[in-house]
C-alpha cells in the first residue's frame, strides 16, 4: 500500500547524539521537497529546534494528558502534512510507552500515515536494548538505524540489525569541525540557499557544506521513497 504522508521520530535514550541536528536536516529536506512539514520539539530544556526552524517547529510534551492529546491526536490527523519529531532523551520512555499503549502505529496506518523511527546508533547497552525493544513493540513502524559518523565511524552495525519491510540504515557523514561550528549557530536553515550567514562563509566551505547536504538528502530521499511506497508483501506481513 502507499501512504499519504509520514511521521519520522528521531530518537535515542541517550542525550547529545545529534538528534536535533538530524531533525533539522530532515525538516529542511522536506521543505526542499516543497512539502508541508511540522517539527515537534520534545526537548525539556532549551528549545533548540525552534531557534533554527521557528516557522516549522511546535513545542510538545507528553508529561500530562493535555500535552499527550495535543501531540498524538495531531499526529494521526490526516492533514497531508509531513511530521518530524525531535524526541528528547528524557521523554523517550514515556513517549514510546504511551505510543505502544494506545496502538499509535496501527492508528496511523489506518489513516494512511507511515511511521518511521530514526534511531541514533551508539555502542552502549542501553541503546542496543532500547533498539531491540522498539523492534518488538513497533513492528508496524519502519525502524531505521542512523549512524552519526560525527560520533565516530560506524563500528556497531551488527548490534543494530535492520528488519525487513524495506528498512535501511542511514548514515550522517562527518563534517569538518569548522563547518560544524557554522551550522550550529542559529539562525541557520539548510533550505535557505544563502545558508543564513552565507556572506561570511568562504566559497570552499559553502561548496563543502552543499556537498555534505546533498549526500544526506540522497539518503533521506531513499528513505522517503521506501517509507511512502512500502511494498505490498511487507504490509501483508505486518498487517496480520
Amino acid at each position: 500500500m502507499s501512504f499519504r504522508s509520514s511521521i519520522t521520530i528521531v530518537a535515542s535514550p541517550r542525550p547529545r547524539v545529534g538528534k536535533t541536528l538530524v531533525a533539522r536536516l530532515l525538516t529542511d529536506f522536506h521543505l526542499s521537497e516543497k512539502r508541508k512539514v511540522v517539527a515537534f520539539d520534545l526537548n525539556a530544556g532549551e528549545r533548540t529546534l525552534s531557534q533554527f526552524l521557528p516557522q516549522q517547529t511546535v513545542a510538545a510534551s507528553v508529561r500530562d494528558v493535555n500535552g499527550q492529546m495535543a501531540l498524538f491526536d495531531r499526529l494521526v490527523t490526516g492533514d497531508d502534512t509531513t511530521k518530524v519529531i525531535d524526541l528528547g532523551h528524557e521523554s523517550y520512555e514515556s513517549f514510546f510507552t504511551l505510543a505502544h499503549q494506545i496502538d499509535f502505529t496501527e492508528e496511523a496506518r489506518q489513516r494512511s500515515i507511515a511511521v518511521a523511527i530514526l534511531f541514533m546508533v551508539t555502542p552502549d547497552q542501553t541503546s542496543v536494548t532500547a533498539y531491540r525493544n522498539l523492534r518488538e513493540k513497533f513492528a508496524r513502524a519502519m525502524l531505521v538505524p542512523l549512524h552519526n559518523e560525527m560520533l565516530g565511524s560506524s563500528q556497531h552495525r551488527d548490534k543494530y540489525p535492520i528488519s525487513g519491510g524495506g528498512a535501511l540504515a542511514v548514515k550522517l557523514p562527518t563534517l569538518a569541525p569548522g563547518l560544524r561550528k557554522l551550522i550550529e549557530d542559529p539562525p541557520f536553515s539548510f533550505a535557505d540557499s544563502n545558508m543564513g550567514n552565507a556572506t561570511d562563509i568562504l566559497l570552499d566551505a559553502h561548496i563543502e557544506l552543499q556537498r555534505w547536504l546533498r549526500r544526506i538528502y540522497l539518503e533521506f530521499r531513499e528513505l522517503d521513497l521506501r517509507l511512502l511506497l512500502a511494498d505490498l508483501t511487507s504490509s501483508i506481513r505486518f498487517g496480520s
Binding site: V65, Q68, M69, F72, D73, Q101, I102, D103, E106, E107
Partner: protein
C-alpha cells in the same frame, strides 16, 4: 434451553463506581456475543440507561410488578444475561427480596445462574456489609470488586481484616478494576456512549464520532485490563458453558 443468568451489581455506598462496573460487564458480554439486558434501579435518573438505552430499563426493584418484569421473564427473554444495577445501599434488602420470591431457591436448584458483584467502598463498614450479604447469598457466585477507576482509592482496612471477611464466603473471588485516566473517563461521560463505542470512535447511534485518539487509547487499554479480570474468573463460562468468540475491542 440454556440456563439464564442474573448478575447483581451492588454496593452499600454510592459513588464507588458500581454503574461503571455494570457498563464494563454489558460491554464484555456484548463482545462475547452473549445477548444481555439490564435493569437500572436508580430511578428516576437512570445512569446506566443513559449509556445503554436500548438494553436498559429503569425499575423499582421493591415493587412487585417490577419484580415480575425482571424475574418472570428470565426464561422467555432473548437475553441470556440480565444485569441488575442495584441502587447504593439496597444490596442487602434486594437480596432479601430475592429470597422471599424464591429466586435464590431457583438458583440453588441450578435453574438459574446467579452472581453478585459487590463493589467495595473504602470504609470498614463496607467489609461488614460482606458478612451481611454472605448470610443471604449462600451459593451464588460472589465477586468482591475493588474499584480504583476514579481515583487511587485508599482502602482503610488492612489486608488481614479484609481476608478474614473474604474467607466468610465460600468460593468468593476478587476482582480489581484499575484506574482510568480522569480526562478519558470524563470524555466518555460527556459522550454518553458505551466504552466500546468510545473506543471504536462511534456516537450514540453508531455514527462516526471525533473523540480524542489518545483518550480512546487509554480507554481501550483500561477496558482490556478490566476484561482480563473477567476472563480470569471465567465469567463467560459461568453464564454460558458453550464456546464463545470474542470481538476485538479495537474495531
Amino acid at each position: 434451553m440454556a440456563r439464564p443468568a442474573v448478575i447483581l451489581v451492588g454496593a452499600d455506598k454510592g459513588g464507588v463506581g458500581k454503574t461503571t462496573v455494570a457498563r464494563t460487564l454489558i460491554d464484555y458480554f456484548g463482545a462475547h456475543q452473549t445477548p444481555t439486558r439490564a435493569f437500572d434501579t436508580e430511578a428516576p435518573r437512570g445512569t446506566l440507561k443513559r449509556f445503554h438505552p436500548d438494553l436498559t430499563e429503569v425499575v423499582d426493584v421493591t415493587s412487585v410488578s417490577d419484580q415480575m418484569k425482571i424475574f418472570d421473564t428470565l426464561g422467555s427473554a432473548d437475553a441470556k444475561v440480565t444485569v441488575i444495577d442495584v441502587r447504593a445501599g439496597l444490596l442487602s434488602s434486594t437480596l432479601q427480596a430475592l429470597t422471599e420470591i424464591g429466586f435464590l431457591e431457583s438458583a440453588k436448584k441450578g435453574q438459574i445462574t446467579f452472581a453478585v458483584f459487590h463493589i467495595l467502598g473504602p470504609s470498614i463498614a463496607s467489609l461488614e456489609e460482606i458478612a451481611e450479604t454472605a448470610r443471604v447469598v449462600g451459593d451464588a457466585n460472589y465477586f468482591l470488586v475493588k474499584n480504583f477507576v476514579n481515583n487511587t482509592t485508599f482502602f482503610e482496612w488492612d489486608p488481614a481484616t479484609y481476608n478474614s471477611y473474604f474467607k466468610k464466603i465460600k468460593g468468593a473471588e476478587e476482582i480489581t478494576i484499575p484506574k482510568l485516566n480522569e480526562m478519558a473517563y470524563e470524555q466518555v461521560e460527556v459522550a454518553s456512549v458505551p466504552f466500546v463505542s468510545f473506543v471504536g470512535n462511534k456516537g450514540p447511534k453508531g455514527e462516526g464520532a471525533n473523540y480524542s485518539f489518545v483518550l480512546r487509547g487509554y480507554v481501550r487499554h483500561w477496558l482490556g485490563n478490566v476484561w482480563g479480570e473477567f476472563d480470569k474468573v471465567k465469567l463467560v463460562d459461568l453464564v454460558s458453558p458453550k464456546e464463545s468468540n470474542v470481538r476485538q475491542v479495537a474495531s
